[in-house]
């Protein structure tokens, strides 16, 4: 009898897959047209050949103690640049029939792309060094090396941006100010800088014993994709509308003015991108710093798959490749350069730390948190919410929460839609302590907040939801009742959850306060809209002012 559900389910799977795929295919004619108009058969063949060679070498020598030396960051970079040059060469020959791609042009490509890559690498290593120092100070320690490195880079970016923000308020955002600061940073963090250089450039890549053709092929294709997208940003102007009007425009304005720009919603990632102008005087580097967000997000996603979802290395690489290849990601990595990929990286980094925090709170391994009270450790083994047994100063007990708060505030300063992320993170935290009751309590409380401050009015949608003003009170009542239930079920957990939520919120506000201060300075208003948006520098024109400016007042 068990065969019947299997057959029915298999039938549903086949039909659902077929229907959805066919519907998707017919709605996206660009895919089959891509084959109809495909021109790069030669390039495809060359790249596949290189890929086959790389994969074969990886399979043969990847675990060889002597030869694996060749598989390091430098060789991957060489591959990256090779793909860049080959693809530009193929494009040049196809698009410029009056000339041919020669060695001189090839060298120029290498210099252009390599130069931009080095500039981006400098910013990355500076972020890593600064972030490592900050994380040491905050006592944030993550057991997985990749998670720790990514968290350090994220923290460092926050630190760099904050520093640039402060310099920008007094119009001191100049290379002659920043370069000495970086030199000092590298001096104090020289061990970390050397460690990063070693790990990313000449230390052999840690190849998994289970790496096979799927994994190596996925890795290679990922390098190809990232190389092509990175090459595409080595240009004097972005192509996309949003890039030209906002996301590449703001860094350009900051770089030209050596200071902050009035108005606009908070633009942390744009400040980071402005380093392209401030440090290197280059639009290409500025755009590449947007692209960097996507590259780092790919690493973060790999860490998530590998370290937390226990997916093997091959499928982890394949998952990252599949995600990176979606048009929404490739376009934001190459043409419409925005801040969303940077935000994605920061968000994924926060989630990696959240996972560490939840793991510690379940008492499965040591770390910064004290071990759980033994009597309740059994509950932890069943994967249920378990007590943390934190004692003493809240700031000592929860460096991860402090860090997540700081980074969430930084993320909020990249894009205000991080509010969804922050609310969802709190919901997950409460789930960690109180199970489903905690989840629903915080979820309904968050929904109440959303309706109360009319966050659902984004896009003018609130007007369609009649009775939302009434419903919100039901949400509040339900949330409070569930909170009460959580309190009665486990008071220590409840107290801990409340404290951690407050700590999280406080530190999130802390990193957001500079923006609120800047916007208050511009508007002299404490309204939420003013604190979020500042005072637009755009002409304040309305019909009345047009008429007033007319000679004879419009008559």
């Amino acid at each position: 009898m068990r065969i019947i559900p299997q057959v029915l389910t298999a039938l549903f799977i086949v039909l659902w897959t077929l229907f959805v795929f066919l519907d998707y295919w017919q709605k996206h004619p660009s895919y089959y047209l891509s084959f109809t108009y495909y021109q790069y058969w030669g390039l495809g063949l060359v790249l596949l050949s290189i890929g086959a060679a790389v994969s074969w070498l990886g399979m043969k020598f990847g675990q060889d103690k002597q030869r694996k030396f060749f598989f390091n960051g430098l060789s991957v970079t060489a591959l990256f640049l090779l793909v860049s040059m080959v693809s530009v060469g193929a494009a040049f020959n196809a698009l410029v029939p009056s000339a041919s791609f020669n060695a001189v042009r090839g060298v120029k490509v290498l210099l252009q792309v390599g130069g931009t890559a080095m500039a981006v690498y400098l910013v990355t290593i500076a972020s890593y060094v600064l972030g490592s120092l900050i994380n040491e100070f905050l006592k944030v320690k993550l057991s997985a090396a990749m998670d720790a490195s990514l968290a350090a880079i994220a923290t460092g970016m926050m630190g760099l941006v904050l520093g640039c923000f402060l310099l920008g308020t007094v119009s001191l955002l100049h290379g002659f100010v920043l370069y000495p600061c970086l030199i000092v940073l590298f001096f104090f963090g020289r061990k970390k800088a050397l460690g990063f250089l070693k790990a990313t450039l000449w230390q052999p890549l840690a190849t998994d014993r289970q790496l096979n053709w799927v994994g190596l092929g996925s890795f290679y294709l990922l390098v190809v994709l990232l190389s092509i997208n990175f090459t595409a940003v080595n240009v004097p102007m972005p192509a996309g509308f949003d890039s030209l009007t906002v996301y590449a425009n703001i860094p350009s304005l900051i770089g030209g003015r050596h200071g902050l720009v009035e108005g606009y919603q908070p633009y942390n990632w744009s400040i980071l991108m402005s380093l392209g102008y401030v440090l290197f005087g280059s639009t290409a580097v500025s755009l590449a710093l947007s692209n960097l967000g996507g590259v780092l997000a790919a690493f973060a996603m790999y860490a998530l798959c590998r370290n937390w979802l226990r997916l093997d290395a091959n499928y982890s690489l394949l998952a990252v490749l599949v995600f990176s290849l979606t048009p929404s990601v490739t376009i934001q990595s190459s043409a419409e350069l925005k801040i969303d990929l940077g935000l994605l990286f920061i968000s994924l980094s926060i989630l990696l730390v959240l996972l560490h925090f939840l793991k510690y709170s379940a008492g499965e391994e040591g770390g910064t948190a004290p071990k759980p009270v033994p009597a309740k450790a059994a509950a932890a083994k069943k994967g249920q919410a378990a007590p943390t047994g934190y004692a003493g100063n809240i700031f000592q007990a929860s460096p991860a929460i402090v860090w997540m708060g700081l980074m969430s505030g930084f993320a909020l300063g990249i894009k205000l839609t991080t509010i969804y992320f922050a609310l969802a993170l709190l919901v997950a935290l409460w789930y960690g302590y109180h199970g489903k009751r905690g989840f629903w309590a915080m979820f309904l409380a968050s929904l109440f907040l959303v309706l109360l401050v009319k966050l659902d009015d984004f896009g003018g949608l609130r007007q369609f939801h009649l009775g939302a003003d009434v419903l919100q009170w039901g949400l509040l009542a339900a949330a409070l009742l569930l909170f009460l239930g959580a309190f009665l079920s486990n008071r220590p957990h409840f107290q801990q959850s409340i404290k951690l939520s407050i700590v999280y919120g406080m530190f999130a506000l802390f990193t957001f306060v500079p923006w609120a201060a800047k916007n208050y300075w511009e508007t002299r208003s404490l309204s939420p809209a003013a604190l979020m948006n500042g005072k637009s520098a755009a002409p304040a024109i309305n019909l009345q002012t047009l008429e007033n400016n007319m000679p004879n007042n419009g008559n």
């Binding site: 799977i13 229907f19 891509s34 998530l304 997916l311 979606t326 789930y431 003018g460 007007q463 419903l471």
Partner: protein
């Protein structure tokens, strides 16, 4: 904690009171406001605003609950707004339900069912299947078929499409059209009449309904994945909550919820290919189909990236399929082009216009959808953006004469006008407000003695003295529509 302590019982009572509070206020809201389902209806042209045109197009314009419930399907299919940057691939829509479903086929007593009641797994599996079917019905009824000329065929036009198109001409389109026909019948016969009793353009049921649907899927997910250790469960519940907030608050705009995609991709991979993958016939079928879909996604993804087509200019694009990099960019990277060359290759005449605009940084610029901020000095202080022509609409409501309008703008410091010819293409409102306003704006530019055209990439045919020539111009027999024009106010 023992199950029947007074405290535990009190907690259970509080849980039920919470549900009662929620249900009670939802019912109160319905009885108080539920009749006004026409509220928030399309404004008149004089009252329409930019937000409605720009943002709400992502959500769609169906009956209110359907706008939200069909979002997962519409997002993947790009039914509401078709832009390549919104394309997130098809993998998740197919395999998220399958990943959930497969877990319910495990034998009782083994994860994930654990100690579940025997009826629970089949019931929840059925709920997943029914949900997929319901999603298909409500989404396709408001979707479209793309015919061989890439014209949109609405579901109500499907019969005509099937009558005029053979299977051999468009096998995929015809197959989908048959399915659309059946789904539309179901939607119009069974779903829409029920929804219209309680809803319309506005209602008091959508929010409670969304919370209810969320609760249902929360229950399904919690039973499906309850064997996972704490960190993974925490991530799962984070993803649930995040998805809900994003779909509810962001009008379905992809990049506002970009985080959902790597998380769901990672989850789907870990379920379909990880240690917890389903066994049995269905599990194997699912896994092989998953690998096949992944392989197809990779092939079409790379072809798509390498070809880099722009559909709007495809028929006239002589280098279609070669744009892995833009030609001007390729020549810049190889050192053949300067920055100026790149600007002019992209936007003919822009350099000349910029030389005028950037001689000073005080004059104001009236910008309708133009994208030249990046090139203009002090653009943040000079550019007045009216991308939806809201402000222009106010002006021409009062001032009908183009000379008056020009004089008004000039007196306030405006010296330049920039217009993007694609401005009306973003208008998906039933009223076509932006289209109407755009036509009036172009009339302002047409033969206006107060304006001088500085640059455009539109090509028109001009015949004088028997000779035909093609020049850059805005009004005339259009040969190449171009994308922009820049005018100076004299």
């Amino acid at each position: 904690m023992a199950t029947n302590t007074p405290t535990n019982n009190l907690v259970k009572v509080l849980d039920w009171l919470a549900i009662a509070a929620l249900v009670g206020t939802a019912l109160a809201a319905f009885f108080l406001y539920g009749n006004n389902t026409g509220a928030g209806a399309a404004a008149t042209p004089e009252e329409a605003n930019a937000i409605r045109i720009e943002i709400q197009r992502y959500l769609g314009y169906e009956i209110l609950p359907v706008r939200y419930l069909s979002l997962p399907y519409d997002l993947v299919m790009n039914s509401n707004v078709y832009l390549a940057i919104l394309d997130t691939g098809v993998l998740l829509l197919i395999f998220v339900p399958i990943a959930i479903l497969l877990g319910f086929l495990a034998k009782p007593g083994s994860p994930p069912n654990g100690k579940a009641r025997r009826w629970e797994a089949p019931l929840l599996a059925t709920a997943v299947v029914v949900s997929c079917f319901f999603l298909m019905v409500i989404s396709t009824a408001n979707g479209y078929i793309a015919d061989k000329n890439m014209k949109i065929v609405k579901p109500t036009e499907v019969s005509e499409y099937l009558a005029n198109t053979s299977f051999g001409e468009a096998p995929v389109g015809v197959t989908c059209a048959h399915l659309y026909q059946q789904c539309l019948r179901l939607y119009q016969g069974a779903v829409e009449p029920v929804l219209l009793r309680f809803s319309g353009n506005a209602d008091a049921v959508t929010y409670p309904l969304l919370i209810l649907v969320f609760a249902l899927f929360f229950y399904i997910g919690s039973r499906r994945f309850r064997h996972l250790p704490m960190p993974e469960q925490g991530l799962l519940y984070f993803t649930y909550a995040y998805l809900f907030f994003w779909l509810m608050l962001s009008a379905g705009i992809v990049w506002y919820g970009l985080l959902a995609f790597p998380l769901l991709t990672a989850f789907v991979f870990s379920v379909m290919l990880g240690k917890g993958k389903g066994e049995g016939l269905a599990g194997k079928v699912g896994r092989y189909l998953f690998l096949a879909t992944v392989a197809v996604s990779l092939v079409i993804g790379f072809a798509h990236r390498f070809s880099n087509l722009t559909l709007t200019i495809l028929s006239k694009d002589k280098i279609a399929g070669k744009r892995i990099y833009d030609p001007a960019y390729v020549q810049y990277i190889t050192g053949d082009f300067t920055e100026e060359n790149v600007y002019d290759a992209y936007y003919p005449g822009l350099g000349r216009a910029l030389r005028s605009i950037n001689t000073e940084d005080k004059s104001l610029i009236y910008n309708v959808g133009g994208r030249f901020n990046f090139f203009i000095r002090a653009n943040d202080k000079r550019m007045f953006n009216d991308n939806q022509l809201d402000f222009f609409n106010q002006i021409i409501t009062k001032y009908k004469n183009k000379e008056q309008v020009t004089a008004l703008l000039k007196a306030s410091g405006f010296r330049y006008l920039i217009v993007d010819f694609n401005t009306p293409s973003g208008d998906r409102t039933p009223e076509q407000l932006l289209v109407e306003r755009y036509k009036k704006f172009m009339l302002l530019l047409y033969e206006n003695p107060g304006l001088e055209m500085l640059a455009t990439n539109r090509v028109i045919k001009e015949t004088s003295g028997g000779a035909t020539q093609y020049i850059y111009g805005v009004f005339g027999e259009v040969q190449d529509p171009g994308t922009f024009a820049i005018y100076r106010i004299k």
